[in-house]
């Protein structure tokens, strides 16, 4: 661990891109089981690490072991990842303690709603996750650890907590730890956001490995850290119960917070054994003491307690305020609804603070709170649920003086898409009373920036690689500022002599603290489902909605649900406990209940437009449309080695199409190849590739397909040979060959490459045709990836280094080919590739360029066509100007039938073939198939209007003539290649049945 290897001065300011050049790369190996159980951390015990298998890998690799922490450091990320996979780690399983309390927000109420004598009892618990999410976007986290100093570059929203973890890890003082942002600037020391995310875990991982190897180590933070999010579970648990008198008054109010701060240390620190906290529960209990949290409300009989630990982690008062407000305001909302009271009226009833009452009344008036409870006469699409929620907070100022603290009252309107679970914040009215001299404009600005910043992680987020358009912004991202009229009202100050040091930290805490509760309350109003733990991502909302709809379709009436309805929703909530926590919550093999077709106006025009692009990239229509048939109505036959398969109707027809498919059913089919009725789909439908598609893109695709006109069709029975006709055998196939992991960008590659990889590996399903399949019809991987294959009587040429093109492909040529259907140095797109190019024509230029970039990388192709390549092309054309001897029969045919377009006769000709045959990739292939197909069926480049179509000669040439011609072409234009063998046999095979080479048009 020499000081000399550490980074100095200017290097530190350079930001991550420059730092990467000096760093080594670390990958962690987590135990099979590790978990924060709400009180302490438990994990499998490390028995031993056997690194003998990684000795064979070339390059320097170090294995870092500390406690139960295992990491691998190497000179490249690929090597480290490889080594981590090969490393043999032995773990000893620990006894897994049963969950002390349900982790899910959907915890059922402890008591049924049975009035005990004259009081109604209400009892609920609210949680806060240890990690709100894995991070804001995939990025590098670098740590450089020395004896006296530790520097970390990365993303964190809780710098104080991270510093505390790092100081424990290395026994360094907080002042010896420096945090930098990705761009090399010093990180803000103030906590923001809704709690820790895995940027902290990655930072500790990097620091652990950096300390062991004595130099900077980079760790890639991405969705894989979601595993830590799950393992760390719940950090905070707040139980509330109350007795409600028949008058509606809350007679007794009991608030119990499990721990005051509720922050869980980084996984690496916990695994290393260096986390000093809660080693023995007895010791921990000894130091514990209860403090009384503040509540703005006054109840006849109240008890409030929060347990604080003496050696607790950093106190993040902002987060504490948000958590307390979330629990209290959610609970009051529940009590109000259970006792048939207006949630705002209930609060006012228990508020004595004049300023607070004035503020709430003013906000309720401005937001027209009462109107929301009139019978709904709006014309909402049936699958769009709308709700409104209220929340209020008052935080004491920094001197713990409540009277001078900030009051904040919020009313939020949300729209919930029942199908996708998307939650849109459509309106927010915020009233803030922060004392004298409130700058309304500034408050409004802060609210817009902060609230919208927080709403994104709270409601879900989109990673960068699936953005459509030119990579700059997502098409679907609503212009929040436009649709969200944030109203800040500032009532006149009551106390002129207020403490002037009402600082920004107090302001920010108060202004945000009702933000989470207000959305939870609005969500309940919209859906009848209570979310007792953030975040409210589309996935969680969708799963909860699906689970509840299996109980009962319909929604509660606004505010005043009859008592029986309450029970039903509670039952639904109990059921969703499973849905909320299990990774795979929807029925795995069974049928997913049919739905009525979603209304056409359910989705925004932007979403449908994005879906149209997704459909174009996936080229759905190429397979799901017969020649001359209605787009996407299915019925097209595919001959496979296992028999004939017919594509299905994917128009939203309820009887014969996918009209009755819920989004869950659609997603399962796309990712796992299981039809709505539970039967397995065959992998001719490339769900193996589609599984890589992002959630947002799948939702948009669903929206687009459901918005198309339905078309009723008759189903074709597949004609497969036994045993392939048994669909359920596909279950085993999936276990063996299907990896449903969504696409993960490669951190070592550019944005363009990752975008291209996302499109090519996922929606574009290039490998479905261009990778060979094994005997079981599964795509081969590794070196065989993109190695070329045969599909539907055509050869899909290799897209890797095995390419046989006479002039090597370049990125420019690939782009021309994919964008315009023609590369001057290689030929035109035809056969099954023609509709692919036609589909790509719909995509933005950036996306086509990205695909070309990615494919070029697989081919190890240069960027542009060098002068040398152009000269070589000219030489090839010149040397192919004369015929080879011994092929006279073919030559006569060529001169008679082909030469008019394929030979330069000195006459300028508009309809001439633009690429000389000497450069044609197909003539240089190891297989004659595409040449034979082109002669028989012609070349139809209808997607490129400037290019003449080549007619097919199937009806004018005999098999012998086609064979003579193909042999002649090979000898003349690819003279350095060996003659093809058994050409005649291939011709006979390809003629029967006649393969037409157009996919989608007559």
């Amino acid at each position: 661990m020499s000081e000399g290897s550490m980074l100095h001065g200017q290097q530190k300011q350079a930001g991550i891109p420059a730092l990467l050049a000096q760093a080594r790369f670390g990958v962690v190996v987590r135990p099979p089981y590790y978990r924060w159980n709400g009180e302490r951390f438990e994990s499998d015990r490390l028995v031993g690490v056997d690194s003998s298998r990684i000795a064979s890998l070339s390059g320097s690799i170090e294995v870092v072991v500390e406690g139960d922490f295992v990491g691998v450091v190497a000179d490249s990320l690929a090597l480290a990842t490889d080594a981590a996979k090969q490393l043999k780690v032995e773990w000893q399983a620990v006894h897994q303690t049963p969950e002390k309390a349900p982790e899910s927000d959907q915890a059922p109420s402890d008591s049924p709603l049975v009035p005990s004598q004259s009081y109604m009892h209400s009892n609920h618990a609210y949680g806060w996750p240890s990690r709100m999410r894995w991070g804001s976007h995939p990025s590098w986290v670098i740590a450089d650890c020395g004896d006296q100093q530790l520097s970390v570059w990365g993303q964190t929203v809780t710098p104080a907590a991270l510093k505390q973890d790092l100081s424990r890890l290395n026994a360094l003082d907080i002042s010896q730890i420096e945090l930098y942002r990705v761009d090399g600037k010093h990180a803000s020391s103030q906590a923001s956001g809704l709690g820790r995310h895995c940027g902290d875990d990655a930072a500790v991982d990097a620091a652990l490995m950096s300390r062991a190897v004595g130099g900077p180590v980079a760790v890639w933070l991405d969705a894989r850290y979601a595993k830590d999010v799950q393992a760390l579970g719940q950090a905070q648990r707040i139980s509330l119960n109350a007795d409600i008198a028949s008058s509606g008054e809350i007679a007794r109010y009991h608030y119990q917070q499990a721990n005051l701060t509720g922050e869980v240390a980084a996984v690496g620190l916990l695994l290393s054994g260096r986390a000093a906290i809660t080693t023995s529960s007895a010791e921990a209990t000894a130091g514990e003491q209860d403090t009384t949290p503040f509540s703005p409300y006054v109840f006849r009989d109240q008890y409030l307690a929060a347990r604080s630990q003496p050696d607790s982690l950093s106190t993040n008062s902002t987060l504490m305020g948000i958590q307390q407000t979330f629990a209290r305001e959610s609970f009051l909302d529940e009590v109000a609804r259970e006792s048939d009271q207006d949630p705002v009226a209930l609060r006012l009833r228990h508020l004595e603070d004049a300023r607070g009452i004035e503020l709430i009344e003013s906000v309720a008036k401005r937001a027209e709170w009462q109107r929301a409870f009139n019978p709904s006469v709006n014309s909402l699409p049936q699958d769009l649920l709308r709700g409104r929620g209220f929340a209020y907070s008052q935080l004491p100022d920094r001197n713990q003086r409540v009277e001078s603290g900030v009051r904040s009252a919020w009313i939020a309107d949300v729209e919930v898409n029942r199908v996708t679970g998307d939650v849109q914040l459509t309106r927010l009215v915020v009233g803030q009373d922060a004392g004298p001299d409130v700058d309304t404009d500034r408050l409004q600005q802060t609210l817009q920036a902060r609230v919208l910043g927080e709403a994104r992680p709270l409601l879900g987020q989109a990673p960068s690689f699936d953005e459509w358009g030119d990579g700059s912004r997502a098409l679907t991202e609503r212009e929040y500022s436009a649709v969200l009229p944030t109203t800040a009202s500032a009532p006149s100050p009551v106390d002129k002599g207020i403490n002037e040091t009402v600082g920004e930290d107090v302001l920010t805490g108060a202004e945000l603290s009702p933000g989470v509760a207000v959305i939870a309350n609005a969500l309940f109003d919209a859906t009848g489902l209570r979310f007792r733990q953030p975040p409210f991502t589309a996935k969680r909302v969708r799963q909860a909605l699906e689970a509840s709809s299996t109980e009962e379709a319909g929604r509660p009436s606004k505010l005043k649900p009859p008592r029986s309805m309450n029970r039903r929703w509670l039952a639904a909530a109990a059921f969703t406990t499973i849905a909320g926590t299990a990774a795979v919550a929807w029925p795995w093999k069974g049928a997913i209940a049919p739905i009525s077709r979603p209304a056409a106006n359910l989705y925004s025009a932007e979403t449908i437009e994005r879906g149209r692009l997704v459909a174009a990239a996936g080229d759905c229509a190429a397979c799901h449309t017969t020649e001359g048939g209605v787009t996407n109505a299915g019925g097209r036959g595919f001959e496979t080695p296992f028999g004939t398969l017919y594509s299905t109707n994917i128009t939203p027809d309820e009887a014969t199409g996918i009209g009755q498919w819920s989004y869950a059913a659609f997603e399962r089919a796309m990712r796992h190849g299981i039809s709505r009725d539970g039967s397995h789909l065959y992998p001719a439908f490339p769900y193996t590739a589609f599984a890589k598609t992002s959630d947002a893109d799948l939702q948009a695709l669903y929206a687009y397909l459901m918005a198309q006109p339905p078309e009723s069709t008759e189903k074709n029975a597949n004609a497969l040979t036994f045993p392939f006709s048994v669909r359920s055998l596909m279950a085993g196939w999936n276990t063996l060959y299907h990896d449903a992991t969504p696409f993960q960008p490669d951190p070592m590659q550019s944005e363009l490459y990752n975008r291209g990889a996302y499109l090519a590996e996922g929606l574009g399903h290039c490998s479905a045709c261009h990778s060979p399949r094994n005997a079981m019809g599964a795509e081969k991987i590794g070196e065989a990836y993109f190695a070329g294959a045969f599909v539907d009587g055509w050869e899909a040429p290799p897209l890797n280094t095995l390419s046989r093109a006479p002039i090597p492909w370049s990125e420019t040529s690939l782009y021309d080919y994919l964008r315009y259907g023609e590369s001057a140095l290689h030929g035109v797109a035809s056969g099954p590739m023609a509709p692919v190019v036609a589909g790509l024509a719909e995509l933005p230029e950036y996306d086509v360029r990205a695909i070309a970039h990615y494919v070029a990388a697989q081919m190890q192709a240069p960027t542009g066509n060098s002068d040398a390549a152009v000269v070589e092309a000219e030489q090839r054309v010149t040397s192919a100007a004369v015929s080879s001897p011994g092929t006279e029969a073919g030559e006569r045919l060529f001169e008679g039938a082909c030469a008019a377009c394929h030979v330069d006769s000195g006459v300028p000709t508009f309809s001439r073939a633009s690429t000389n045959l000497a450069l044609n990739t197909n003539l240089h292939s190891d297989h004659p198939d595409n040449v034979i197909q082109s002669i028989l069926g012609g070349v139809h480049a209808e997607h490129v209007p400037g290019i003449g179509s080549m007619p097919g000669f199937a009806d004018s040439f005999s098999n012998t003539q086609v064979a003579d011609l193909a042999t002649y072409l090979r000898a003349r234009f690819a003279s350095e290649k060996a003659p093809w063998q058994q050409v005649k046999q291939r011709i006979a095979d390809l003629r029967q049945p006649h393969h037409n080479n157009t996919h989608s048009t007559p």
């Binding site: 039938a897 008019a900 006769s905 000195g906 209007p945 003449g948």
Partner: protein
């Protein structure tokens, strides 16, 4: 879907499938019968027209390919009531037996002269190599083409003097 075509200097809007061969549109929809239907495979040249001054075999060319280009058929080759020099040369040389191939011959020679005003006899033979004539009028056709070179050059000279 309608397509906009410019044919013999006139604009036409046609509602035809974009994959229809241009030849069918010219003969059937526009009654321009200069181009002939011969082999239908682009082998004989009887269907030729000029597109942007270049020869084009219209039996294999989808009509959509002509959008945005200037199409000239044999019917539109004469200018201001005067025959094109190539047409005049074929009349002068009486180079027709059945005459079915003459459209292609005239169009091909016209395209050649647009590109090369003084082609050699060998260049003329090469240019006409892929235009088929089944009556055996090849000698007269070559004579006509050679005369076309002369008349065309004279016409060009006259035009430059005016």
């Amino acid at each position: 879907m309608t397509l906009k075509l410019t044919i013999n200097g006139q604009e036409h809007e046609l509602a035809v499938p974009p994959q229809t061969p241009l030849l069918n549109v010219l003969r059937n929809d526009l009654a321009l019968n200069g181009p002939k239907y011969g082999c239908g495979l682009g082998e004989c040249g009887a269907c030729s027209v000029l597109i942007d001054g270049m020869a084009a075999r219209t039996c294999v060319l989808p009509v959509s390919a002509a959008v945005g280009h200037e199409v000239t058929t044999l019917d539109g080759l004469s200018q201001g009531g005067e025959l094109d020099p190539v047409q005049q040369a074929f009349i002068d040389a009486q180079a027709a037996q059945c005459g079915y191939c003459l459209n292609g011959m005239i169009i091909t020679v016209r395209a050649l002269l647009n590109h090369n005003t003084q082609p050699s006899a060998q260049q003329i033979r090469t240019a006409l190599e892929h235009n088929l004539c089944r009556c055996g009028t090849h000698v007269e056709i070559l004579h006509a083409a050679e005369r076309a070179v002369v008349i065309n050059a004279a016409a060009l000279q006259e035009a430059s003097h005016e």
